[in-house]
Symmetry: C2
Subunit: 148 residues, 2 copies
Amino acid sequence: MQLNNIYNMTNTRHDCKKELRGASLKVTPARLGVLAALEQAQTPLDVSEIITYLENKGIKADKVTVFRIINALTDKGLTKQIQFNEGKFRYEHSRKADHHHFVCERCGKIEDVSNCNIDEVEKDIQKKGLLIKRHSLEFFGLCKDCQS
Amino acid sequence: MQLNNIYNMTNTRHDCKKELRGASLKVTPARLGVLAALEQAQTPLDVSEIITYLENKGIKADKVTVFRIINALTDKGLTKQIQFNEGKFRYEHSRKADHHHFVCERCGKIEDVSNCNIDEVEKDIQKKGLLIKRHSLEFFGLCKDCQS
DNA sequence: ATGGTTGCAAACACTTTGCACATGA
DNA sequence: TCATGTGCAAAGTGTTTGCAACCAT
């Protein structure tokens, strides 16, 4: 398992480098770290969470730098910016963005929700002449632990 | 038509008063104005837009006051707070909240989208033990005018 | 070598808080 | 009258910008 872990890490770092180069962004420790953070996260991260991740990995990066990095990544389409009515942005890797989220209104926990089928709805809307490029769908309520 | 308009306005003011009293909130010009703004708006409004509406109606209200008012209204369930990835909140009257929105990524125009059917999806999710109280669904893309 | 990247300070936008004064019931 | 609502100033978040120093290619 140890070996397996190391292998995965290496793989991830390699992929991240490829992703950055593909977007004509220079490869830097901070960028690799941000990309890895979003790659490994179970839920969308906000900037503070990304910075915490970087710190734990021994990567020092200013908050401003992280903002600039995620903006660049989002511009290039590598990551996606989303909001859960918290008054701040969260980010997730585009490769993970084909699902939706459930947000617990009490504890703030975020859970993934499997891909849903709103293609028909989209088709209906497109008839009005609107060109839909993406949608965001989030559910709010109480998670298992917070219902008691 | 003129008469009809006046009649509607009066009606609206009357309804707003009832709504406020029902929520045990005192009736004040600013509160009536905010409620009327959201009542008559075609799309969800942000705080600046609400203030502009109030100014046009001759109602003077500080930005802070408007924030406090919409927070009170939202706490009481009279209004709903939503976000379109703009980095700020928008608000709409709860009575109008049974639909979704299309946001043009180029000109920012917001259009209503008729009620969609995601009840099945919700049922599916509830099976996991999550209690869904509400959801938010927004579509992003290019409106008719911005596709050229 | 050099253009893209970063850190730091400062600015900005949106939202909240504290407190004295004003107002609705 | 008296709890509640409001205005103003100030502070709190989250995010962006300017500029000099730094570093990846």
